[in-house]
Symmetry: C2
Amino acid sequence: MYANANVIEPTTTSCRELPWVEFQSNQQRVHVYSAREALFCEGDSAQFVYEVLDGVVCCYSLLSDGRRQVLSFSYPGDLIGLVQGDSHRYNCDTLCPTQIRCIPRNMLLRTAHERPEVGEKLLTFATTELAAMQDHFVSIGRKSAQEKVASFLLTLAHRHAIEPTGSVTLRLPMTRADIADYLGITIETVSRCLSKLKIAGVIDLPQSATVVIRDVDNLRDFAERD
Amino acid sequence: MYANANVIEPTTTSCRELPWVEFQSNQQRVHVYSAREALFCEGDSAQFVYEVLDGVVCCYSLLSDGRRQVLSFSYPGDLIGLVQGDSHRYNCDTLCPTQIRCIPRNMLLRTAHERPEVGEKLLTFATTELAAMQDHFVSIGRKSAQEKVASFLLTLAHRHAIEPTGSVTLRLPMTRADIADYLGITIETVSRCLSKLKIAGVIDLPQSATVVIRDVDNLRDFAERD
DNA sequence: CGTGAGGTTGATCGCTTTCAACGGAGGTGG
DNA sequence: CCACCTCCGTTGAAAGCGATCAACCTCACG
């Protein structure tokens, strides 16, 4: 999908250590998914933990009446499905063509038991995830729509460039609906906020899935004050 | 900050919860706090991990203009401050008189390295915390004010009675402002929603800090369908 | 009994949602 | 190759929910 685009790609900036754990076992497999395929659904038995090798996936919860809350977007190096209990509590879909390593959960936990450094890695992952969710809580709970959208773009920018300055080009593998359900607003509001940032000269939108951040510092102001 | 707090000898044990880890070391201490004291603040060096033995504490983030997002309420048995990195990323206050066990973080991590079952306990705690936060995301992001308040009461009820049925009495150690900042709404809205539940006969409010859930099933309807 | 913090309730405002129309990009089939 | 279709995104207008502003109440405490 973004293979031939001239933009920053998630895999090229991997400062993360891949893969998570080196196994001799042949129990783990790498699966290839196309866009908008389900990795697992709420209620599915949590036999595997999934590591994103390439592409992007999206975890989300559904209410009975169809309302959706996107919980996270996971990029290469991220781990998904490390749950407590035996079944998944949310759904997980790919957003674009994606490579996933499936690691049997009991094998991972057994390895963690035998090799302290693996357990530490898992704990590090979990606490890092917690910190990211805490930041997102502030966005969802206490920021205006405009601030939410600006913060979202900044978070993505930080993911792909450790210290973003000046101009940064981002590719958005997710739709406006995904962003809206992540930020707790509607697609129309996402669109309006992006337009406002464009009119303000803070970003550019050459295509709907490509955002050029023209001024990171200016965007930062929008993320916490406008 | 807690240096001049009243220190109880490590031999003192809580009647409510087993301690997370039994140490021979005298490095860990139990501290007693009164209501509305700070355990730590954003930016403080994260030297300790804290276990609530008795009482309730509240973790929160602040935006530069004073807006606040409460991240969690922690009850006896809960662990606080298990962060990645060397400094705390949020603030933590007691809500009422509280006993806290302070565990040196490097000691806890060293123990986890040496004893797999301790590492597993930490990981279990982190993944349980993640699951709770995911549920809360749905509340904050996609529920109406009325649903948020009803969900909040249900979550508290589940905390204190595994399978709440019929009538449940809850004591709220947090103020309306704490609840509002937890749910991403205002104190006036919290108050109005509670009043609506009272008028509907779902709850009773003998005092402002005491909620009697008269019909848990009915409350459950309010929590996801208004 | 005065005081102040926390809580409730009412009235109004404004941001976001909802409803609706339109535009553009990509895919398909004639 | 082009007409057509559908999905996604954008923009406008109106409606509604929760925020804001304000008054009053309740209770603990000195």
